[in-house]
Symmetry: C2
Subunit: 170 residues, 2 copies
DNA sequence: CGCCTTCCGGAGAATGATTATCGTTAAGGC
DNA sequence: GCCTTAACGATAATCATTCTCCGGAAGGCG
């Protein structure tokens, strides 16, 4: 049952990656295709660790270094975006199937990530950049909080800082 | 000549940190005070490396581990915020002297950081969180681009990705 | 068809930021 | 001042990520 699943599961977007590789004069190798296919085939925000695990599930044994190298190319191609949600490692997501520009809502307890879109953010990016003489290239908005599931499970947000430090100094 | 310089440079906000330490039952040590004073005394977004360098300039020789431990406490206290602007390490800034809530504009070339405030961001945070059933705690908005100085210096933003990957898939 | 050059892939070492360990030493309460 | 406790500092450990090096596949060419 596990004959050549990586071809069976081929994402319809794989050809974009192949095009990019050729365009850049880079070899289209099997490893690069499989790694890209795993990323394209998931709606999650995957860590390298998780990508490696999914590759193993498919019976593919690809070195971590190759995964990192491929992710670098994927990000450069614009097909994939990397994120640091404060976990101590990066997460990757492809940019198909949802709004090309979107922001993230991260649960501070279970680390779940929800995407959302606010068109005004793009406008704010451009306005702020212009006001400061910057040429904007991209932005990153993350909202952290406690998700509904964690609330239902009784998790409490605890604030152990000063009551209102900013206020204290006028 | 280097008798007690750390007291000479004492920031007017240091007492807030002392208050926090006492409130938490943590000892108010000389090292913690000096580290906090360095951070409170700078308007920059300092890395641990830079904090260490400034301590050395003052003639203070404090171990990196202690700096990390103190930064952790400072962040927990709410007096300091940490950031990851994609440099591969964290940067810290105190929350005095400017808007308590503010966002960052980062130059992708020279890594300069400019702060700005948009009151609507706070509103968006609360609205989005409510829509998704989250209890919001904080957010993080970073806009990346090329600053005016780098533009004047002739630096070009180069995009080496696909022309419009998102468009290519509808 | 074999040779040569190039560069990928894989394994493991190296790096760099951050965190843990452990003996020594300073804080804070009495 | 004494005592308990926990911080400090140096160093080792950790963890994600990058580099190194070598065998090997891909493509050009006589």
């Amino acid at each position: 049952m596990a004959t050549a699943e990586h071809t069976a599961a081929a994402s319809p977007y794989l050809h974009l990656f192949r095009r990019y590789l050729r365009q850049q004069g880079l070899p289209v190798t099997q490893q690069r295709e499989v790694v890209a296919d795993v990323v394209f085939g998931s709606a999650d925000h995957l860590s390298v660790e998780e990508i490696e695990a999914r590759l193993k599930q498919r019976g593919e044994r690809i070195g971590k270094a190759t995964i990192y190298r491929t992710m670098e190319i994927l990000v450069r191609s614009g097909l994939v975006e990397d994120h640091d949600f404060g976990d101590g490692f990066k997460r990757y997501e492809h940019l198909f199937g949802q709004q090309p520009v979107h922001e993230h809502l991260v649960c501070t307890h279970c680390r779940k990530v929800v995407e959302f879109r606010r068109r005004e953010i793009q406008r704010i990016q451009d306005e702020v950049a212009r006001e400061h003489g910057f040429i904007p290239s991209r932005h990153r908005l993350e909202i952290y909080g406690l998700c509904a599931d964690c609330q239902a499970a009784g998790v409490q947000l605890k604030y152990e800082g000063l009551a209102c430090p900013a206020m204290a100094v006028g």
